[in-house]
């Protein structure tokens, strides 16, 4: 099957070269060495610049190549599968600029577009030492005065704060604070006086050790009025909307890490002999591999859905991004840790097996769930909307969202992204989950499809149960009981199941690609992925050994053919390990 975003992604992959080769700059070996030295991967970043990855951080209207967020996600995924430090260190420029794309005026956007294309590094300076997620407690000030704004304060744990040139700063413009008390500024360090700011030391981190995680203090410095992004007092709104996009894109980091971990473990499992058999063939290991491959594919489905959602369901992104940012990093974190158990000592040794790739990716990946809105903040964003979603469910039964095909059929052209459609709540709409009320196309022509149809019923019943639990539970926003977090987690699993079902339904007819027909045909991957999700929901399943075998054969095939672990074909530059 032809999957458009993989064309560019494959070109990037091809350009970067075989990560196992000594001749390659962006190799596992170099990444490992840089990690040990805790050095910034400058040479690798230069390569990405030469290829022009940064052009994808700038929307086409402002001179860049960013047309499709699905495309950007897939490009970052391939960078991340080699080294998360690089993906995060480089991708941060998008994080730094997004507030301007969402909230800025035309001249600001044109200027920033030009800057980024010229290689300027942009950071997001949001977090403060004492306040973390509590943005409304921030006390970095931008005091309005006749000549502009007087900046004073500290931002800490800021990626590229020291190395970067520009920063988007979230600052208090009204001493009283509050939802309209903050604004966003685009600050160019080079235009501040030398004494105007101090960069704080690089912090020693657990993972992404080479990244420049530091901070900045600004000492009573005047900045010009035109550095204000959007309206005065609209900072919170702009930042929260911008995060809807970046939280969605974080999925690329998890997908990359997941491929890396599974590839490595599979390599070990097919070469390791224990008790006169291959490790892969020990039933327990087989199960871990099966679960991991399905976790990866489920994460991929959610990533595709959410990144296409930026274009198609823009007004629902408050929900979609929170689901993606909670669900994908945490499920991949679990997957990675299960795979580590298969690797045994090799998960722990830094310089023995494949340059200690596992221990690095495992450490690196732990940042994904943490930054850009941590797991709990995202779950809370879902919880806040659960009641409205439940109330609107009935309406959704009768009305089918006409945009389903554009969302799920990956060959459909995506509409242009319109940032003004972003909204702080989804107003009870959830096209993805509610689409399950409209799956009449699902026939029962094979035992797999019969099983799938049964699972759909189970899921629908569970939605109903969840909704009624939600409606029967009372909570106040600033003291949400722990139980509600479980409700939100279940919501995400159901949502993921719906996405899998629709993605399969809308794309199975494009079955023209030989290498993947094995798992698309007859809903094999769908069945396995649904079973995985239902299992996590503790709902009954009826696994089928034959489907599992076919599924694992696909894993094997993708591994041996150096394909990305994916529902769509993408050829990697790795040499064959077998």
């Amino acid at each position: 099957m032809y999957y458009q975003p993989y064309l560019k992604a494959e070109a990037l992959e091809h350009y970067l070269g075989d990560p196992h080769s000594e001749k390659t700059t962006f190799s596992y070996e170099n990444s490992a060495a840089l990690d040990i030295e805790e050095a910034f991967p400058q040479e690798i970043v230069n390569e990405l610049q030469t290829w022009g990855l940064h052009h994808y951080y700038v929307p086409v209207e402002y001179g860049g190549n960013l047309e499709s967020y699905e495309q950007l996600l897939m490009l970052l995924r391939l960078v991340a599968r080699r080294d998360l430090t690089v993906a995060i260190g480089h991708g941060k420029t998008y994080l730094g600029s997004v507030s301007v794309w969402v909230g800025g005026d035309q001249p600001q956007k044109m200027t920033l577009g030009q800057e980024i294309r010229n290689g300027t590094i942009v950071s997001l300076a949001l977090t403060e030492r004492a306040h973390g997620s509590d943005l409304l407690a921030n006390d970095f000030d931008a005091e309005p005065n006749p000549e502009g704004f007087l900046l004073t304060g500290e931002k800490w744990l800021i990626n590229n704060a020291t190395r970067g040139d520009m920063l988007t700063v979230f600052a208090r413009t009204d001493v009283k604070g509050g939802a309209r008390g903050y604004s966003v500024f685009l600050v160019d360090k080079n235009q501040l006086g030398e004494d105007a700011y101090t960069c704080l030391n690089k912090v020693k981190t657990h993972g992404i050790k080479g990244a420049d995680i530091s901070g900045i203090q600004i000492h009573k410095t005047l900045i010009a009025p035109d550095t204000l992004v959007g309206k005065l007092g609209h900072g919170l709104d702009i930042v929260l909307k911008s995060l809807q996009i970046t939280r969605t894109l974080c999925a690329s980091l998890s997908l990359g890490a997941a491929d890396n971990a599974l590839r490595l473990t599979y390599q070990f499992a097919i070469t390791r002999e224990l008790y006169d058999q291959k490790l892969r063939d020990i039933p327990h290991t087989r199960r871990v591999l099966l679960q991991s491959f399905s976790d990866l594919l489920i994460a991929e489905v959610c990533s595709i859905t959410s990144s296409r959602g930026i274009h198609v369901l823009t007004e629902q992104m408050s929900l979609i991004s929170a689901v993606a940012k909670y669900f994908i990093p945490t499920s991949i974190e679990d997957m990675i840790s299960q795979l580590g158990k298969v690797l045994g000592a090799r998960a722990f040794l830094v310089d023995l097996f494949e340059h200690g790739r596992y221990q690095k990716l495992q450490r690196d990946h732990r940042i994904v769930a943490l930054f850009d809105g941590n797991t709990l903040v995202n779950l809370q964003a879902i919880i806040n909307q659960l009641k409205t979603l439940a109330k609107f469910r009935n309406k959704a039964r009768s009305n089918q969202d006409q945009r389903l095909a554009t969302l799920f059929d990956v060959t459909a052209q995506l509409p242009d992204f319109q940032s003004d459609k972003l909204s702080l709540t989804t107003k009870g709409q959830d096209t993805v989950l509610n689409s399950l009320y409209h799956v009449d196309q699902l026939d029962e022509s094979s035992s797999n499809l019969v099983a799938i149809k049964q699972y759909v019923k189970t899921i629908l019943a569970e939605i109903e149960k969840l909704d009624s639990e939600v409606l029967n539970t009372d909570w106040v926003i600033n003291s949400i009981p722990a139980r509600c977090f479980t409700l939100a987690q279940r919501y995400c699993l159901l949502y993921a199941a719906a996405a899998c079902i629709q993605l399969w339904l809308f794309n199975q007819q494009h079955l023209d690609s030989k290498p993947l027909t094995g798992i698309w045909h007859d809903g094999i991957w769908l069945r396995i992925c649904l079973e995985r999700l239902l299992n996590k929901l503790k709902l009954p399943i009826t696994p089928c050994a034959n489907a599992e075998t076919l599924f694992l054969e696909q894993l094997d095939k993708q591994y041996h053919n150096n394909m990305l672990f994916s529902l769509f074909p993408l050829k990697l530059s790795d040499y064959t390990n077998n």
């Binding site: 912090v203 224990l274 327990h284 722990f348 040794l349 769930a369 949400i480 722990a482 977090f485």
Partner: protein
């Protein structure tokens, strides 16, 4: 070993308290075992001389040597209590300084002759180290395929081959070696040796380079290669060909001891995060006041109490029912590390960005997270422990789980904190339980026994866990029928998980009931027990959710009191230094 005929009195608590005082407040950067110095040593990849001298002065090694050989080891529970202060501060030191020597020594205490035992005792009492030389990179847990050979010659053995990933190999005075002594493959092909390096010709062996590791960075982990190295006849431990059997028996001790000691790590993790949560202000209150964070903290406390019940009882069970330890030690090694790993993960979420930093007030946490996996995969990983139990399930189901235990007197010995204990009788260790399981048998007979003050709430839990045990028996039976005796299905691993949970519940109940005279009010109130059982019940049946914020409040209060007043989070609530 420990051949004394009378019973031995407990004394662990006072010795632990003295040791705590001796080691001093870990938050005081001046003391040898301060978190500051520990982190610094970790960054440098060393164990400091200062730290080791501190333990040498206390003669910690004496606790690894049985009393009759001049040491202080008479009860395993005491030994664990004494060692916990070290693990509370630095897992690396605990492993690198001492426990590695103990793991080696146990083989000698079990299988050595009098001279060998005395020789090893003298080495340890002299503060020297002993290595365990088992592991070959190519074979891992597959002992029977280990290749290093000890070929019998006229007056001894000729060693050739390599062992890798061996702690302290270079600085150890002696080592216990696992080597192939017979060409005939099978379970009698290998033997154990105790070798003093003084008896080896220095030219005949060499050390392999040290490995860098993700955690326990200070441990000196390297390898050794023998080239026709001559080892004398006296170095053989036990009979030729008894290596596998004897090693498996020794494991039964260490698989109880190591997880039990590692509860100290959990204590520090919880302390660190609780400190953060009470200090950190978000949304105008402390993080500990956020219901989700509070719930996570309280659950961590409950988990800690649960595994502490297991640790105390299992280290005493080694003395009381040694013939049942093949299963119990595997349950311990499976359940405790898994619980602590999960706890560390959950706690890391509360710590947020602070968990990702290798510096600052909470920097110790990431070290715990990196060090801890050694407990779970080293020395037989989770899956392998499950695999040890699986073939025994059907016998357990038919015998131990089906028959109510009539005589309970010996249970008192297993569960009482302060009671006397029978001396350990190593010759009673068996490779299988033969279907015996007194602990779950005791769950069967509890309600029939009128002498226990069982509240209604406790009664309903006992009924619940008994019915879960009924289910488990059925499931084992079903699996046996479906898979024709071959229980090595992935499903069987799930059954072990259930078994472990029921087992943990029984251990908590017995611990409570058998200590009616324990005066500590928190322990006596039994509220912790109901909460702990609730937590375990939920793992088996997600519908068992009952929320009591009141109880949660009380437990959190208890935790904060212990934090403020310097007591451990374990059942005993032992006084801590600082």
């Amino acid at each position: 070993m420990l051949v004394a005929t009378q019973s031995i009195a407990a004394g662990g608590k006072s010795q632990q308290a003295q040791f705590e005082q001796y080691l001093g407040d870990p938050n005081d950067s001046q003391v040898a075992l301060s978190y500051a110095k520990i982190l610094e040593a970790d960054e440098a990849g060393v164990i400091t001389k200062e730290a080791e001298e501190c333990l040498d002065k206390w003669h910690l090694n004496h606790y690894f040597v049985p009393q009759e050989l001049g040491g202080k080891l008479s009860r395993f529970d005491t030994m664990v209590e004494v060692l916990r202060p070290v693990f509370r501060r630095d897992f690396t030191l605990g492993l690198g300084y001492g426990v590695t020597s103990f793991i080696a020594a146990v083989n000698v205490w079990l299988s050595g002759n009098q001279e060998q035992k005395q020789h090893l005792a003298d080495i340890l009492l002299n503060n020297e180290k002993v290595s365990v030389v088992f592991h070959e990179l190519n074979h891992g847990n597959d002992f029977i395929h280990n290749e290093l050979k000890a070929i019998p010659t006229a007056n001894g053995f000729r060693l050739s081959g390599k062992k890798q990933v061996i702690n302290n190999i270079e600085r150890a005075r002696a080592f216990v070696l696992f080597a192939q002594t017979s060409e005939k493959a099978g379970s009698r092909s290998h033997s154990l040796f105790l070798i003093d390096k003084k008896d080896l010709s220095p030219e005949s062996y060499r050390y392999l380079p040290r490995y860098k590791t993700l955690g326990v960075k200070g441990c000196q982990i390297a390898g050794i290669e023998f080239q026709d190295t001559f080892a004398n006849q006296e170095s053989l431990l036990g009979k030729a060909g008894s290596g596998v059997e004897n090693a498996l028996k020794a494991f039964q001790i260490t698989r109880c001891i190591l997880p039990a000691m590692s509860v100290g790590v959990a204590d520090t993790a919880l302390r660190t995060v609780l400190k953060f949560a009470t200090k950190r202000k978000l949304y105008n209150r402390s993080v500990a006041d956020i219901p989700h964070a509070r719930w996570t903290l309280v659950n961590a406390f409950l988990d800690l109490l649960i595994i502490d019940c297991l640790s105390g009882s299992m280290t005493r069970a080694l003395h009381v029912i040694p013939e049942q330890m093949s299963v119990y030690s595997a349950l311990m090694k499976y359940f405790v590390p898994l619980t602590i790993e999960q706890m560390l993960n959950d706690l890391s979420i509360i710590l947020g960005a602070r968990f990702y930093l290798r510096e600052g007030e909470f920097g110790i946490f990431q070290k715990l997270l990196r060090d801890y996996p050694v407990v779970s995969f080293g020395h037989a990983g989770t899956a392998i422990c499950q695999a040890t139990i699986i073939p025994q399930l059907k016998f357990l189901a038919r015998k131990g789980w089906s028959k109510p235990l009539e005589k309970r007197e010996h249970l008192r010995e297993i569960y009482q904190f302060e009671g006397n204990l029978a001396p350990f009788q190593p010759e009673k260790l068996k490779l299988t339980n033969n279907g015996k399981d007194d602990i779950l048998g005791s769950l069967r007979s509890l309600l029939a026994n009128a002498s226990y003050p069982i509240t209604d709430e406790l009664r309903s839990f006992i009924v619940f866990f008994n019915s879960q045990l009924d289910n488990l028996i059925e499931e084992v039976d079903l699996l046996e029928r479906n898979t024709g005796n071959n229980l090595c299905e992935p499903k069987a691993f799930d059954l072990v998980e259930k078994y472990a949970i029921i087992f943990a519940a029984a251990s908590c109940i017995n611990t409570y009931l058998e200590n009616p005279h324990h005066s500590e009010p928190f322990f006596q109130s039994g509220k912790w027990l109901n909460a702990a059982l609730q937590r375990l019940a939920q793992k088996l049946s997600p519908n068992m959710v009952v929320e009591s914020t009141e109880l949660e409040e009380e437990l959190l209060y208890q935790m904060c009191e212990r934090l403020d007043n310097g007591y451990s989070f374990t059942l005993a609530g032992s006084p801590l230094a600082g």
